[in-house]
């Protein structure tokens, strides 16, 4: 995945760039909003990672200008401020995701992976499949092999998010945002509890394990390697 990182803190940018390269991505780093804008118009990127506060031109204006010019590259905003209004402003300006500082690099990587490989939205998928696990989005039914699995609506959504990100790590925060619409950090193990419930339904009764815990990062659904 070809990434453009626009971040004014040199050290964070350096570290993130190294991390992206190690994860097998190609990354360009810039420290100024205007430069970032010009670069985007010249080169085709898969994902843009843009800090909200930038010298030259702030991140919000930069993305707004890009969207006006017809550029549809997915954008992740990085920000120090985390109010709802800020998040809404970011999404309205044309951002696709929003990450509040400080964050673990793994969190950023998980989000870049999710956005960078997002399938083209033109084809509506109605059946998700990972190994012998099937999720019928129209009939709202989950099946593993021949066995039908009963899921609560929220468990269904949780499984759907995990299946859409097959093979990629989905962080706790991503699950909180996408499944429960929580934009704050709960003090109790909400995600862990629900994952363990889901696991007891889709994995426990079967031979092979599909839902994996990735240490310190999050969860990943894939066929055992």
């Amino acid at each position: 995945v070809h990434i453009l990182l626009v971040e004014d803190d040199l050290e964070s940018a350096k570290y993130a760039a190294k991390g992206f390269t190690e994860a097998g991505h190609v990354v360009d780093v810039l420290h100024d909003g205007k430069e970032g804008m010009v670069q985007c118009l010249q080169t085709e990127y898969d994902v843009l990672v843009v800090d909200r506060m930038l010298p030259g031109m702030d991140g919000l204006s930069m993305v707004k200008a890009l969207r006006v010019s017809g550029n549809k590259t997915p954008v992740i905003f990085l920000t120090a401020v985390s109010g709802v209004d800020d998040r809404v402003a970011g999404l309205e300006a044309g951002g696709d995701d929003y990450l509040t500082k400080p964050f673990a690099f793994s969190e950023l990587l998980a989000r870049v992976n999710a956005l960078g490989r997002r399938p083209a939205a033109t084809v509506e998928v109605t059946l998700l499949q990972v190994g012998d696990l099937q999720l019928d989005l129209l009939q709202r039914v989950a099946r593993r092999g021949d066995t039908e699995i009963e899921l609560q609506p929220r468990e269904f959504l949780l499984l759907e998010v995990l299946m859409r990100n097959e093979g990629r790590v989905v962080s706790r925060t991503m699950l909180l945002e996408q499944v429960w619409d929580f934009h704050f950090d709960p003090k109790t193990s909400v995600v862990e509890t629900h994952i363990s419930r889901l696991r007891s339904k889709i994995d426990k009764p079967f031979d092979s394990q599909l839902l994996h815990t990735v240490r310190n990062l999050g969860y990943s659904l894939h066929v055992p390697r």
Partner: protein, 493 residues
């Protein structure tokens, strides 16, 4: 519930707060029409109207006193003229009597008209033994001196009062009389005039006061409206000021100046918290990535360092406390009020209950939902903040109660005021400590060992204040019950 199937990041709809929409903030009032005001209770509450009435009353009292005095002067004047006319007659009689003797007086007297009480002077002369010598006017004798008697009482033919002068004339007594009907007419006319003037003045005073009340009422309504929207977070609103330079204008100008300063301070505060956030979060971010980098590097070499995990936890703790402080400051500044929308908090409670039911169970407790999740209770508010309040309350209950605790979620409506309650059957909080729970960083001695920043309840209070809701902590016998009630009459909404 937001459908997040195809849209992994739910976007909130743009805030709607149009003046013409059905969602007008409570308390928005328009200035009433003059006639409407005239028959409303608001008129009697208006200070301008009361002042107007007081001035009218003072005016009417002064007017009555002035009228009374001039009436008295007029009365006295008329009486003096009548008296001097009677006296002149008496002096005439006396000089005739002295110069020509009493027979001459009698002769004149018998030839003159003594009965009718026109404009002229009537008289009667009574001899020493009480017999009438001339004139027939009186039926009784009076002492010497000046008298005013009612004509009817004296069985005289005319109306009104009569003035008498009774005086000696040689051996005889002469009584002279003159009608006071001019004075009577004057009194009647003046009284009628006074009543008319009094009533007209009173009407004008009332109308004038009502008009003044209407004028100021409109302006004060405008001020009330602006101040309400300022309190609701629209700090850019200002009071109208015209060129008349009157006291309300002066007052409005002063308030506008104060609002300018307030806005500067709030803007400054916002700028400062966002600068602070940026300045502190950048190094915090570096700390995160360095700890993470070190952990990964060592992990790849097969080494796990427990201290690094703890360092990460500490960094997390610093971050979440800092985050909570920023959030509370943002909420207390009231900035989010501008984005209020109708929120069905039963749905919010239902969602939180659904999410937390397994978490509560995992902790060895029970979650009991008393309300009907299909019900609806709407309040104007911020869904995310309300959600966080419910989550904070439930998480507090989970973290501070031992296994086997029953956590109850309830909601309803009391006299038009919606409420919800999170109750537990845990150890509870001593009564004298309850208010302290709202203080920043306050933690009960017993809970020092459990994780938390002591900001959860402060946030609950800040969000409740923003929504004009009260937070009540009560004994659940055993345990703690926390009720959040949305007040109907809220000066800020």
């Amino acid at each position: 519930m937001a459908d997040t199937t195809n849209n992994p990041i739910p976007t909130l709809p743009a805030p709607v707060l149009d003046e013409n929409s059905g969602l007008r903030p409570r308390g928005e009032v328009n200035a009433p029409a003059f006639l409407e005001l005239l028959f409303s209770r608001a008129l009697y509450r208006s200070s301008a109207f009361r002042l107007g009435l007081a001035i009218s009353a003072i005016y009417l009292i002064c007017f009555s006193i002035a009228w009374g005095l001039s009436y008295q002067f007029l009365q006295d004047g008329v009486l003096r003229r009548v008296d001097s006319s009677l006296n002149a007659h008496y002096q005439g009689m006396l000089s005739v009597h002295n110069e020509l003797g009493s027979d001459a007086v009698l002769q004149i007297a018998q030839s003159s008209d003594t009965t009718p009480m026109g404009d002229g002077v009537a008289f009667q002369i009574v001899g020493p033994s009480g017999e009438t010598i001339a004139g027939t006017m009186l039926t009784e004798t009076m002492e010497f001196g000046w008298w005013t008697r009612d004509a009817e009482e004296m069985r005289l033919s005319n109306e009104g009062s009569v003035r008498f002068l009774v005086a000696p004339l040689g051996d005889n007594v002469v009584s002279l009389a003159k009608s006071l009907h001019t004075a009577d007419e004057l009194r009647e006319d003046a009284t009628a005039g006074f009543v008319k003037l009094f009533l007209i003045s009173m009407m004008l005073g009332l109308l004038g006061s009502a008009y003044a009340a209407w004028r100021t009422h409109g302006r004060i309504d405008k001020i009330t409206q602006v101040m309400r929207s300022v309190a609701a977070g629209q700090l850019s609103r200002r009071l109208p000021v015209d060129k008349s330079g009157d006291d309300i204008n002066e007052f409005s100008t002063q308030i506008n100046d104060a609002l300018d300063r307030l806005q500067q301070n709030v803007d400054g505060l916002r700028q400062m918290s966002s600068d602070m956030a940026h300045e502190l979060k950048t190094p915090l971010n570096r700390l995160y990535i360095q700890i993470e980098g070190a952990t990964t590097k060592l992990y790849e070499q097969g080494i796990e360092v427990e201290e690094l995990g703890k360092a990460m936890d500490e960094a997390d703790y610093i971050n979440s406390t800092f985050q909570a402080i920023l959030r509370i400051a943002q909420i207390e500044a009231g900035a989010r009020k501008a984005a209020f929308q109708p929120v069905n908090f039963i749905e919010v409670l239902g969602t939180v209950a659904e999410v937390y039911e397994p978490v509560v169970e995992e902790a060895g407790n029970t979650l009991q939902v008393v309300f009907d999740p299909r019900d609806a209770q709407h309040v104007m508010g911020d869904r995310e903040l309300l959600m966080q309040v419910v989550v904070n309350l439930i998480e507090n209950a989970i973290r501070h109660c031992p296994k086997g605790t029953m956590i109850t979620l309830d909601a309803g409506e009391y006299h038009g005021e919606p409420w919800f309650r999170v109750a537990d059957s845990g150890p509870g909080v001593p009564e004298e400590m309850r208010e302290k729970l709202f203080q920043r960083m306050f933690r009960l001695e017993a809970s020092r060992t459990t994780p938390g920043s002591g900001l959860g309840m402060t946030l609950v209070k800040a969000v409740a204040d923003l929504h004009c809701a009260s937070v009540r902590l009560e004994d659940n016998n055993p345990g703690l019950a926390i009720t959040v009630k949305f007040e109907e009459d809220c000066p800020v909404c």
